[in-house]
């Protein structure tokens, strides 16, 4: 049985777990290609037109897989912690895909109610049952996968650069180099270092978030805000680049909160959608980094 795994959304953060889990259970997995123009076009074709870029690209990945596998795996992130969720689109993702793309193979989906070990075990147990595996097999696969996931480090923290910027945004915008037009490489070539949210302690994020009147109930909002506010207040970086998808509901709030908290700290908000041109993005990055360099010297 071949299971298709779309390389979109939170795949970038959790692929070691999910790939290893399916592999150890003896299933063949088919992973879609890296995001490219064709996948984006497929996504734009099938997805509802109001959706944001990452969701459209996810649709594209699923569409590119649909004839190559027997099942497509689409997780449903209901909550990441108690009272912490992602975006409603993540909760309704299987339904969105199922009803938007015609002639879909069967979808394997299971709800995730938290990222703690216990909640992930609940998720894995149910997922394994759907694949007709016994408890022992599932347990072994789960423990191994969890260990691999825990030792996996996707974040980036460049040293030895004179100018350093914090790259803020949802994980799939930061790590999908098609969406962000390989911004990390571009910055490094301009001799600018990058730090991502994985390199800030959880306590620092919490202490920034606790200053807010209303605790954000989105995990991404929490991380992005806490990270940006922390590095901004402590001057750990020279500037912040926020990569945001057009019409993202969460970003419309978070960017405002960050701007309020940091006042005149240099922030560049890069909006990406399916029409974003590379030249325009480059010009904006160059202008921003020129400005930072002048401030530093």
């Amino acid at each position: 049985m071949r299971i298709g795994v779309p390389r979109g959304l939170l795949y970038y953060k959790y692929y070691p777990f999910i790939n290893n889990f399916f592999n150890e259970l003896g299933e063949e997995i088919v992973i879609s290609q890296d995001t490219n123009r064709d996948i984006l076009d497929l996504g734009v074709k099938f997805s509802v037109d109001d959706a944001c870029l990452p969701v459209k690209i996810f649709h594209g990945h699923v569409a590119s897989l649909k004839d190559k596998c027997d099942y497509v795996f689409i997780p449903r992130f209901m909550e990441t912690d108690r009272g912490q969720s992602i975006c409603p689109k993540f909760c309704g993702l299987p339904e969105m895909v199922k009803n938007s793309i015609p002639d879909m193979p069967k979808i394997i989906t299971e709800s995730i109610y938290g990222l703690s070990d216990k909640k992930l075990w609940d998720f894995s147990k149910k997922l394994g049952r759907k694949l007709n595996k016994n408890r022992k097999q599932i347990e072994r696969a789960f423990i191994d996968s969890l260990n691999i996931q825990k030792s996996f480090d996707i974040g980036k923290n460049d040293k030895n650069y004179k100018v350093k910027i914090a790259l803020v945004g949802h994980p799939y915008n930061i790590y999908d180099s098609f969406i962000n037009m390989d911004i990390v490489k571009k910055l490094n070539e301009m001799n600018i270092g990058v730090i991502t949210e994985e390199y800030v302690e959880k306590e620092d994020i919490d202490s920034e978030v606790n200053k807010l009147f209303k605790k954000p109930f989105w995990t991404f909002a929490r991380n992005s805000y806490g990270f940006a506010a922390h590095v901004g207040h402590n001057k750990e970086v020279n500037g912040i680049i926020y990569i945001s998808s057009f019409a993202c509901g969460i970003d419309s709030v978070v960017i405002e909160l960050i701007k309020d908290s940091l006042n005149d700290f240099p922030i560049l908000v890069l909006k990406v959608d399916e029409q974003t041109g590379e030249a325009g993005v480059e010009t904006r990055i160059e202008a921003f980094t020129d400005m930072l360099e002048r401030r530093c010297s």
Binding site: S47, P88, G92, M96, N99, G249, V253, L257
Partner: protein, 366 residues
């Protein structure tokens, strides 16, 4: 002790209930101006660029009320995953930056902030009232009664508008009713007036044999309840002689929220939406799907979904609706509104949709 002047942003007809409530409590209530272009313009000017339309209008309401002398605003809260829950934080920041010194009291659900904090926040309001506990409860009860009555009158007259013999009578009654009710100072008087109009609904002559086009309106709760935000779509449909039905109303919301702990809320909607969206994903997406299915089951002619640009839960619903439309051969149209929505284009789409429904029925009503 300095007396507070309270304001609450507009959501549809709730201003009547809010007025009754604060009158009963003996607290001064400053009603924001009725939603208009100015409120939206001020709101859009100071709000974050990509935030949704309800925020912009509500911000406009608050600024206008502040200028009219209000010093405390009460805002119902929620805890996600829809961004409505984050409104209060941005309201606070934006108003502070503008120099509007207005205190914001957020009424959240007890499970998110704890019952103690909720009582504390409500206490801030009720301590301003010099009425006894009994009278306060009475005021809340009266406000609920007002909501129920006005929702009933509005629902009935919108639906019966398709059947009326002389055109425009139900619309006139509805507007007279709102005007007269608002003019009442005392809650009990308001209830009396509403009851009078409820009775007079029956005196308008209707033709039961007529077979008008029936449309169900679904979508994001603010944009379907607040007529300004949806460019008075219901009034337009009323003028065309279309019968309009809308499940969601403030009284529905109160009932739904009260029944949630018992898991007895909107059972019919949950059952209807099971096939297409079996979980609550935030906002009112599940209600939206359920109502679309129910509308087809109840032999309505079509459904119009309305939501503000970028509304996350409704986008999920919008992705599912075409499937329902295809499965059941049932016309569904989605309308997206924001501060740039042009009235002409909007009206054209509604007219085209009605034409389509008409042709499906093979008769002409306009």
């Amino acid at each position: 002790m300095q007396l507070v002047k309270v304001t609450v942003p507009h959501i549809g007809n709730t201003y009547l209930a809010v007025k009754a409530l604060f009158n009963g409590l003996g607290i001064e209530y400053i009603m924001p101006e009725f939603n208009n272009k100015d409120a939206l313009e001020i709101g859009a000017k100071y709000a974050p660029e990509e935030i949704c339309l309800p925020f912009k209008i509500m911000l406009g309401n608050l600024i206008q009320s502040f200028k009219a002398g209000a010093d405390t605003a009460i805002i119902p809260g929620s805890c996600g995953p829809c961004r409505y829950g984050e409104y209060c934080e941005i309201f606070k920041n934006t108003l502070k930056k503008m120099g509007c010194d207005i205190e914001i009291i957020v009424v959240d659900q007890p499970k998110d902030i704890g019952i103690k904090e909720l009582l504390n926040r409500i206490g801030k309001i009720s301590s301003e009232s010099n009425k006894s506990r009994n009278e306060q409860l009475k005021a809340v009860y009266n406000a609920y009664k007002v909501t129920k009555l006005i929702d009933y009158i509005e629902g009935k007259s919108r639906y019966l508008a398709g059947y009326e013999l002389e055109k425009g009578q139900f619309k006139k009654l509805l507007y007279d009713c709102k005007r007269d009710a608002l003019a009442c100072e005392k809650p009990l008087k308001m209830i009396e007036v509403l009851k009078k109009y409820k009775r007079s609904l029956k005196s308008i002559k209707i033709d039961k044999n007529r077979n008008p086009i029936t449309i169900s309106i679904i979508g994001e709760i603010y944009t379907i309840l607040e007529p300004f935000s949806n460019l008075y779509v219901e009034d337009k449909l009323m003028d065309y002689g279309v019968s309009v039905k809308k499940e969601i109303s403030p009284s529905w919301w109160v009932k739904d929220a009260a029944l949630v702990p018992l898991k007895a809320n909107s059972i019919n909607i949950r059952r209807a939406s099971k096939k297409y969206l079996p979980l609550y994903i935030g906002g009112h997406a599940r209600e939206c799907i359920g109502e679309a299915v129910l509308a087809e089951k109840n032999n309505m002619d079509g459904v119009i979904q309305i939501f503000p640009l970028g509304c996350m839960p409704e986008i999920v619903a919008k992705a599912i609706l075409p499937k329902i439309s295809k499965d059941k051969d049932f016309p569904i149209m989605s309308l997206v509104v924001d501060e740039m929505t042009g009235e002409a284009g909007y009206t054209t789409r509604i007219e085209a949709f009605i034409d389509l429904l008409e042709r499906r029925k093979e008769k002409c009503i306009i």
